[in-house]
């Protein structure tokens, strides 16, 4: 079709919509509502899925996170240093981009009201990214933080509150009450994982080693290595790491496994499928309504179609015109529907429900907006198809005498 043909069809479609404002508006309210429901449902499902995934990633790592651990077969762990060194070699040998030690221990911190053995996770700088550690203020460790003379610590809200919530800008210190006390600097505050979480902290492994903190009895877990790797490499790497470390430490049982939430497939796939199915049905209802109105309209417009044919409209132009009318209308309705969906998803009350417990609020998914617009256009094309075929079959001679 020529440029003027396309422009002409658009002009015709727009003029038709303008002329039959009320009819079009009524038809489109249904489509806009359907699209708004579809987009809202898909977007909220996507956002909740993202929120749930973020929560899962915070507790068990992003897909695919391999956890490597070593356990003594005779009950005696011995010096963990060689094992930690071997962990470092694994990271280098397999060129893993994100890796972190994960050693759960306790460190005696001096609070205004006394010394508390606070649960402390000794980690690498990558841990923050790997576990999406959610800071309410300050910043996660950088590689250079390991070199600080006064070790950096990141604490949870409970820890921070117990310190008296000092301003992080003035580098507040907290004393580690070892044999030789060391002053650590609080550089970040993490959100509490649950309401009554006791004080907890993170330290970089280099800093922890230097401080030489004495853990409370029974609080020093075995060192673990966490690796964030591409999903397709998870399996071969697991096997390689187990065989590699088992050979180096015959007295230890080496475990390596995927600990992230997606290890056994996407747990939210089913939910999304169900939500998508419901949304599809909603849209189908809108489409049937539009088709109904379009069919009635074409019958009413038989004479007009005949007149247009007598003035040179080809059957293609008539087909395209009727179709385009429907598509232009539903596209506009789709835009309105998507805007309504975005407005709903941005409501604070809705966001609180969807993204409970996470601070990194998932943005409105672009895919949902595109799906809404695409679905609206497709509905327009489908609902326009049958009337367009009817319009083309109109017998001009009969139509102009109608």
């Amino acid at each position: 079709m020529s440029l003027t043909g396309i422009a002409g069809s658009l002009v015709e479609a727009w003029a038709e919509l303008r002329t039959h404002k009320t009819r079009v508006l009524l038809a489109l309210i249904g489509v806009a509502l359907s699209v708004a429901s579809l987009t809202t449902v898909v977007a909220l499902a996507d956002m909740s899925r993202e929120a749930l995934a973020q929560g899962s990633e915070a507790s068990s790592g992003r897909p695919a996170t391999l956890t490597v651990g070593a356990y003594p077969m005779n009950g005696e762990m011995g010096d963990p240093a060689p094992l930690r060194e071997a962990f470092g070699s694994v990271v280098e040998r397999y060129a893993v981009e994100y890796a972190s030690l994960n050693l759960l221990t306790s460190v005696p911190f001096q609070f205004p009201d006394g010394v508390v053995q606070a649960e402390t996770t000794v980690v690498g700088a990558d841990y923050g990214v790997m576990r999406r550690v959610n800071l309410t203020s300050g910043a996660w460790f950088t590689e250079t933080d390991g070199q600080r003379l006064a070790p950096a610590v990141i604490v949870n809200e409970a820890f921070y509150a117990r310190l008296g919530s000092p301003d992080l800008a003035v580098d507040p210190v907290v004393r580690i009450s070892n044999g030789t006390p060391v002053d650590a600097v609080v550089t970040g505050v993490r959100r509490n994982l649950w309401p009554e979480e006791p004080p907890a902290a993170y330290m970089l492994s280099e800093a922890y080693d230097r401080v030489g903190a004495v853990a409370a009895p029974g609080m020093n877990g075995p060192p673990m290595l966490e690796l964030w790797v591409p999903e397709d490499l998870a399996e071969p790497l697991t096997a390689a790491i187990i065989s590699d470390l088992s050979a180096q430490f015959p007295a230890l049982q080496i475990d390596a496994y995927r600990a992230d939430y997606a290890a056994w497939g996407d747990p939210y796939g089913g939910m999304q499928l169900a939500v998508g199915g419901i949304a599809g049905l909603v849209l189908l209802l809108g489409a049937v309504g539009l088709l109904n109105i379009s069919m009635v309209t074409v019958k009413y417009r038989v004479r007009e179609i005949g007149i247009r044919r007598s003035f040179g409209a080809t059957s293609g132009r008539i087909f395209f015109g009727v179709m385009l009318e429907s598509v232009v209308a539903t596209f506009v309705a789709g835009l309105v529907g998507v805007m309504a969906a975005i407005a709903v998803a941005k409501l604070p009350a809705v966001q609180r429900q969807v993204a409970f417990g996470i601070s990194e609020l998932p943005p409105f998914p672009v895919e949902a907006a595109l799906l809404g617009l695409g679905a609206a256009t497709a509905v327009g094309a489908l609902a326009g198809l049958i009337p367009a075929v009817v319009a083309v079959r109109v017998k001009v001679i009969d139509a102009i005498r109608f």
């Binding site: 044919r309 007598s310 003035f311 040179g312 132009r317």
Partner: protein, 252 residues
């Protein structure tokens, strides 16, 4: 006894100053037969011959059911003959596809209907712009200017934004004339153009139509019951039971 006329070149047409002899439209032995619901064949046209030249003004009169509208539909390429040939500018229309005919019809033929057939809820200007939506190039892009100029020519320059329901019958038919002429057609087909108008308005509308057609040099074929309207034409035909005769012979 009925005598059929072969409207041979030059016999009833108009010859241009340039000595143009090629007819704009040529019908040869055109028949049109339709099958009725009882499977009987109904012969609407029986071997019509007609030459129409640029600038001709032809009237065709006939009783209801004589085949006038069928003939007009064939002349306007809305319908095809069952047998026989129709040529437009020397090109056989029967060989053209539906879309080719539509494009040619849009560019070269203007229709005026008895019931005006204006698009309801559209202004006079939008109605006259309608045929230009199917034009190409400058005519398409300048459609608003062309349409308002044409409405000015039929005396409705001040009523561009009026919708048909607010116009009188005569004004509506003038809008229809402007719509038929806006693409400068070479053939204007008017089907009972005064059928829905009173005598005085009908005369005035026909006078205007004949004048504008003459100015543009287009051929004008009017189908009518009204002898006064037919009298405005240069050539007069009578269609009787599907057969076309020159009017003077019919009278004889």
């Amino acid at each position: 006894m009925t005598q059929f006329i072969d409207a041979l070149p030059g016999s009833c047409g108009w010859v241009s100053a340039a000595g143009e002899t090629q007819p704009l439209v040529r019908l040869r032995n055109v028949t049109r037969t339709v099958r009725r619901p009882d499977n009987e064949e109904l012969h609407i046209l029986g071997g019509v011959d007609l030459d129409v030249r640029q600038g001709d003004h032809i009237s065709i009169v006939g009783r209801s059911g004589s085949g006038k509208s069928t003939l007009l539909n064939i002349l306007g390429m809305l319908d095809l003959p069952s047998t026989g040939t129709i040529e437009f500018d020397g090109v056989p229309v029967g060989n053209m596809g539906g879309n080719q005919r539509a494009v040619l019809r849009g560019a070269a033929v203007g229709f005026i209907f008895q019931q005006f057939n204006l698009l309801a809820e559209r202004t006079a200007l939008e109605n006259v712009m309608t045929p230009l939506l199917y034009a190409k190039g400058r005519d398409f892009w300048r459609r608003e200017k062309l349409a308002s100029d044409m409405l000015g020519r039929v005396g409705l320059g001040s009523r561009l934004q009026e919708k048909p329901q607010r116009l009188s019958g005569g004004e509506q038919q003038r809008v229809a004339i402007a719509r038929a002429l806006v693409r400068s057609p070479r053939l204007i087909l008017a089907d009972e153009p005064t059928g829905a108008l009173d005598i005085a308005t009908g005369q005035s509308v026909m006078g205007l139509l004949a004048e504008v057609a003459e100015e543009s040099g287009a051929a004008l074929i009017t189908i009518t019951h009204d002898p006064n309207v037919a009298a405005l034409a240069h050539s007069h035909y009578l269609l009787e039971s599907g057969h076309l005769r020159l009017g003077s012979e019919a009278a004889a």
